[in-house]
């Protein structure tokens, strides 16, 4: 959900100017919350991979001739 999408929706609904002005910070806040949620998940992803991920062949499979 980009910023321009939200603006368009307000215009389509014929929202008054004051309501649109209120919506802008709320939308920015939503976007910031989504950015935080994405980074939280990214961090969990990296930690899980580091500890539990299968990052190499099973023992001995990487042995060279």
């Amino acid at each position: 959900m980009g910023a321009s999408d939200g603006d368009s929706r307000n215009e389509a609904r014929g929202a008054p100017d004051a309501a649109a002005a209120d919506a802008a910070p709320r939308q920015a806040s939503d976007e910031a919350a989504r950015a935080r949620a994405y980074l939280d998940l990214w961090e969990r992803h990296l930690v899980h991979l580091a500890i539990h991920g299968r990052l190499a062949p099973a023992s001995g499979a990487a042995r060279r001739p």
Binding site: M1, A3, R34, L39
Partner: protein, 412 residues
């Protein structure tokens, strides 16, 4: 913000911690526009949340990344400038040899029975043993002493010229066996042995080869079978195994020749690699805490301990990193200790094997096979990590009390 003059150590290796964080968050920023894509490589279980990340605003992601990096640096500064300084006095020694001491926690102020049942406690060689006696209220050894036991802590000490040529077998024969004899003399008979981390693995060797001297065995976060290939640690072991550990062996030998010992920084780098983002994330948490509060104080105490490692003789490092970790001599039944092959099946003493469910240093896959190899072992899985089993908020209920109950039943 200048570092407090008494500060012990620093985040090491700092360039690694900061570089990893920059790189990881940079990847997150670059990949943000595709976070909701089916081809985004989320690990299993996390991908279900991808739909919520359609059309992320990269400016917001960048701003949040900047805030997290700033919090990481702020957390490091808070630690470095914190006034905390460990003040618990060392317990007096009842035996010593070279740099090693056997410290008597029956003689600390918290002890309720100075002549209580003797328990030998064997910590890791990599870090100093005061993780078991970190701060008042989070000291496993003082708590055991308050329960009426008499813990005797094997304080390995910082190796000097006398220990420069030591391998693990030397530490066993010349330090651990005499310390066990001293403990046995004080007790008037065999004693329970508790081992933490690699100290637990050494305790297995001790109990297998001197079964008449060990009344009960407890290991906490003690790795045994290194064949598991999970995570970065498993990947590193597999890659090093592909050359049968010869290069790692030579590297450790050369480090020992160049520096006299294998430097602390090598172990700190290896630990950092196990979970590269851990440092950035934990310092972000510190930045959120009240710097004057108890949680921040405990955090600083723990970080001081993490940074306060000891160098290791090259022979011992080779035994640990190549013999155990790479060649898996322990689980393969080929580990020789005190002049004989260590066979856990010889241990007749009752055993309690404690494993941390989120332990990244000795994960359950490395710990549980020991229980299977012992004739009589109970397994306890604590919902915490490697250090959390000793000093975490859940340690008392998840580890300390079950440990005391086990000792009360089996020889404490």
């Amino acid at each position: 913000m200048p570092a407090a003059p008494h500060r012990v150590g620093q985040p090491s290796p700092l360039i690694f911690h900061l570089g990893v964080a920059l790189n990881a968050y940079g990847q997150a920023l670059l990949m943000a526009p595709r976070a909701d894509s089916a081809s985004f490589p989320w690990i299993d279980g996390l991908g279900t949340e991808r739909a919520g990340f359609a059309d992320l605003d990269q400016i917001e992601v960048a701003a949040e990344i900047a805030a997290r990096l700033a919090a990481t640096l702020r957390g490091i500064e808070i630690w470095q400038a914190h006034p905390y300084r460990r003040s618990l006095p060392d317990a007096p020694a009842v035996w010593s040899d070279g740099c090693s001491r056997l410290r008597d926690f029956g003689a600390v102020a918290e002890a309720t029975r100075p002549d209580g049942s003797v328990v030998l406690v064997v910590p890791s060689l990599i870090n100093r043993p005061y993780i078991l006696d970190l701060v008042a209220g989070r000291s496993l050894l003082r708590w055991l002493a308050a329960q009426g036991l008499r813990p005797l802590l094997m304080d390995w000490g910082e190796p000097g010229p006398a220990e420069a040529g030591f391998g693990l077998d030397d530490y066993g024969a010349r330090r651990l066996v005499p310390a066990l004899a001293a403990a046995r003399a004080l007790a008037g008979g065999p004693v329970p042995v508790i081992g933490y981390c690699m100290g637990g693995t050494l305790a297995v060797g001790l109990a297998a080869l001197l079964p008449e001297d060990v009344r009960a065995l407890v290991t906490i976060g003690a790795p045994w079978d290194f064949s598991a290939g999970f995570g970065i640690a498993g990947a590193m072991r597999t890659l090093i195994r592909s050359r049968e550990g010869r290069r790692a062996d030579a590297l450790l030998e050369n480090l020992g020749a160049a520096f006299g010992m294998v430097p602390v920084s090598l172990f700190q780098t290896l630990f950092a690699m196990l979970n590269p983002m851990q440092a950035a994330l934990k310092f972000q948490k510190l930045a959120e805490l009240d710097p004057h509060g108890a949680a921040a104080r405990l955090f600083v105490a723990l970080e001081d301990w993490v940074a306060d490692g000891v160098p290791m003789p090259a022979g011992a490092a080779r035994d640990l990193l190549v013999g155990w970790q790479v060649r898996n001599l322990t689980a393969r039944g080929s580990w020789r200790f005190l002049g004989a092959r260590v066979d856990p099946a010889r241990i007749r003493a009752p055993a309690l094997i404690v494993s941390g469910a989120t332990d990244s240093i000795a994960p359950p896959a490395l710990v549980r096979p020991l229980a299977a190899a012992l004739p009589s072992a109970k397994v306890r899985v604590a919902r915490t990590g490697h250090v959390g089993m000793i000093v975490g908020s859940a340690a008392r209920s998840a580890v300390w009390r079950p440990l005391a109950e086990f000792l009360a039943t089996h020889g404490g």
